[in-house]
Amino acid sequence: MNKPSHIVKSYEEQLKLLEETIIKMGTKAEEQLSMSIDAFAKKDLELARKIIAEDEVIDAYENSIEHQVVNLIALRQPMGIDLRETVTALKISSDLERIGDLSKNIAKKTMLINKNLSVNLINSFNLLGNKVKKQLKSVIDSYLERSKNFAKNVWESDEQADILTNQCMEDVIKYLKEDEQNLQNGAQLLFIAKNLERIGDHTTNIAEQVYFLVTGEYLEGDRPKNTESEML
């Protein structure tokens, strides 16, 4: 349903501001994730520090969204599409905040890795990292475009992220077996893989919200999942 403007302009502006804040927050989360993947691959400690410092930007967006949503509910009593805009903004912002946190954690773990890693291992992480990065970008696009199909694609494609996570885990285990000295780094690597997988999960949560926002209906049924990575 395309929608004409509100009769009350200030209400229209508030809804627009909420949407813009989500998009800014999403863009920032994408940036943080992207930097954390780079920082890991290049072992760039300065970049890692920057990611850790900038997480507060994402937290500030989350606060702002929560504040806006509570005000909209209290003062405007949104209905129909406006209600869905308001409620999904709150939920999406909390997923984005988690994505920010997990990216920060990847940066922290990166700083604890004290040895150069093999190209193979880094490639394996890059594959996973780029996959979830792409998912995050797609899901933000689906929000921007109000596209239920984009959202559903993200929701369905997370299975591939699970498969890539398993591959990463296997590679890390191989690395651990090579040398007892690798234990310290290997533990960090397992955390990083797990964090990336979690980020993928959060993108599917956002996809569910976008789907509800657009259709008013919930994505039904079980998401296609590769559950092996959950055993770890």
Binding site: M79, G80, L83, R84, E217
Partner: protein, 255 residues
Amino acid sequence: MINEKIKISTKNLNVFYGSKQALFDISINLVQNKVTALIGPSGCGKSTFIRCLNRMNDVIDICKVEGSIKIDGDEINKKDLDVNLIREKVGMVFQKPNPFPKSIYDNIAYGPRIHGLAENREDLDNIVEHSLKKAALWDEVKDRLTQPGTGLSGGQQQRLCIARTISINPDVILMDEPCSALDPIATAKIEELIDELKEIYTIVIVTHSMSQAARVSQDTGFFHLGKILEFNSTEKIFKNPDNKLTQDYITGRFG
């Protein structure tokens, strides 16, 4: 849903004021013991519609009502019917409280008296007390039943009118913007009352307040230019309406 009984059913209801058509082919079912809210912009026909349900439009000479209106399966839109019997069954509460210029007691006792519902004074006392209690007004007025009803506050007057409606023991209560002249506390009391009364009665409420429709009703009908554009569960209407115009109306985007 199971165990839902249709209380009122209209089919191809068309209403004309002279040559102007006010309602077009209204076919809806109102479920027993539910509150149905009717919403829509001014002049859309919602008041005209509820006035059909107790034949109130009969008093307007130029008004012509065509089509079927069934209550409990019995057709009420036919000539040879005693409208008093319908109005006994279908009570009405209006926008502005309109108590009779009589005592609080007589405001309630009037209906049962003329309908012969009380055998003696004790019967009548019981009906008055019962009706005032049902309308959540008894505690506030029990010590001043002989004082004029018009001396009560607006919210109390409206509950007095609801008590007056209840006193003749109707099946259906029609409410035409019953809270639009009331403050939020009086409104909340009426809404709480509506919630309780639906256990016994079938209620149809016309309201301009979207949030009130959302709060009190289980079903909602959206009227526009004399047609019913959407009739759905209240939850559906306010979360995800099917009709684009419904959405524009409830969200305040009506062009």
